[in-house]
């Protein structure tokens, strides 16, 4: 292992990069409150991994979506485990991302010079909620169906563009096959494609600026 790394480093000199990344100086006095971002990152990776494995069996068609989920639950070895992690992980993501945001807020860590980290964070928050909203429809059971009917109806309340937004979300006036495929596409392709670069930017900024320490007592 060391040999391989040395071999690589001789050609690419990547050691300083990883040393800088992994052995950063931390301010004094930080504690468990500072771990929510990393915990969110961990869950995000869990979601991506388990999600990819769910996609091996899932079928995004009204005729088959629910049956494919049932198949994962009852026939596929460890299917319940993979689905369970993804299912609970999604709630965990929302809770952790909110906890992370609250800690950043209450400690004032969003202030100069970290505004950009905060702004990217706000976008990440909406993306996490977007993952939850689109993923909820995929089992295509009564709960999923009606939750999405209500959720998309909310969009319709917006003045002027509401009805247009509703139709774009549903792919038509009613919830149906087209809604399911587009929610699936958003859930597994669009949202990750947007979220991954943004998480990278978020983390780049955290590493580049260094994390903010606790406020000093006056």
């Amino acid at each position: 292992m060391v040999k391989v790394l040395d071999w690589l480093d001789e050609r690419l000199s990547i050691k300083p990069f990883f040393e800088h990344l992994l052995f950063r100086k931390m301010p004094k006095g930080i504690n468990w409150w500072w771990t929510f971002g990393s915990a969110t990152l961990f869950l995000l990776i869990m979601q991506l991994t388990t999600g990819m494995f769910l996609a091996i069996y899932y079928s995004a068609s009204p005729d088959h979506a629910w049956d494919s989920i049932r198949f994962i639950e009852s026939e596929v070895t460890f299917g319940t485990l993979i689905r369970g992690i993804h299912h609970w992980g999604s709630s965990g993501m929302v809770i952790l991302v909110l906890a992370h945001m609250l800690r950043v807020f209450f400690m004032g860590a969003y202030k100069y010079p970290r505004e950009t980290t905060w702004i990217v964070g706000v976008v990440l928050l909406t993306l996490v909620l977007g993952f939850g909203f689109t993923g909820y429809l995929l089992p295509w059971d009564e709960k999923a169906y009606w939750a999405t009917v209500v959720g998309t109806n909310m969009a319709e309340q917006a003045p002027l563009i509401g009805n247009f937004v509703l139709k774009v979300l549903r792919g038509g006036a009613d919830l149906g096959a087209v809604t399911l495929t587009r929610f699936y596409a958003f859930h597994v392709l669009f949202l990750p494609a947007i979220a991954l670069p943004l998480v990278s930017v978020h983390l780049f900024m955290v590493v580049k600026q260094g994390i903010s320490g606790p406020a000093k007592k006056k």
Partner: protein, 179 residues
């Protein structure tokens, strides 16, 4: 890091000591050409992709006339619920879909047809002969024979569907005619 020479690519105005800004240097021309091409490719693919995604929202739904019964089957002033089946396209799936409407006969040539969904949150209401009112079970919405709100949370009168009489039959089209 100390930088001594200005970085030419940062300004796009050519290498140090090159022609003044306003002249079209080779570098400047190429960088513009690249941006123009990138913009062109982005537009040519991006615009269709956006339309591709939102197209279902741009299409108006074409409703057809559906025969819901003989006019002799309705009694004047006595609302009747009719069930019918239409073939509805759900993306690439075409399936029979059960529908219904409330029909109020005024005369042999005049009918009022109501959308069966309450204008509050879409619950199915029904006619109560004893009260002479349409009652919605969900949140106690009450409508009269004309579809006007009598009480409860519904914000507006019952939606009316287009209808016409042809050859002794009542035809309905699921197109709201009262706003």
């Amino acid at each position: 890091m100390v930088e001594t020479t200005p970085r030419p690519y940062a300004t796009g105005s050519g290498s140090p000591g090159a022609e003044p800004e306003h002249e079209m240097s080779r570098r400047r021309f190429l960088s513009r050409a690249i941006f123009a091409m990138a913009g062109f490719i982005g537009g040519v693919i991006g615009l269709p992709a956006v339309v591709h995604t939102i197209s279902p929202a741009l299409k108006g739904e074409q409703q057809s006339w559906i025969e819901v019964g003989n006019i002799s089957g309705f009694q004047a002033g006595q609302p009747k619920k009719v069930d019918y089946v239409i073939y509805k396209a759900d993306g690439w799936i075409e399936e029979p879909s059960g529908k219904s409407c409330w029909v109020v006969k005024k005369s042999d040539s005049q009918f009022v047809v109501y959308d069966p969904r309450c204008t509050h949150l879409g619950c199915p209401y029904s006619w109560h002969t004893d009260k002479n009112q349409f009652l919605c079970p969900c949140h106690n919405g009450v409508f009269d024979l004309e579809g006007n709100v009598i009480s409860g949370p519904p914000p507006r009168a019952l939606r009316r569907f287009a209808n016409r009489v042809e050859g002794g039959k009542l035809l309905v089209r699921e197109e709201v005619i009262n706003g």
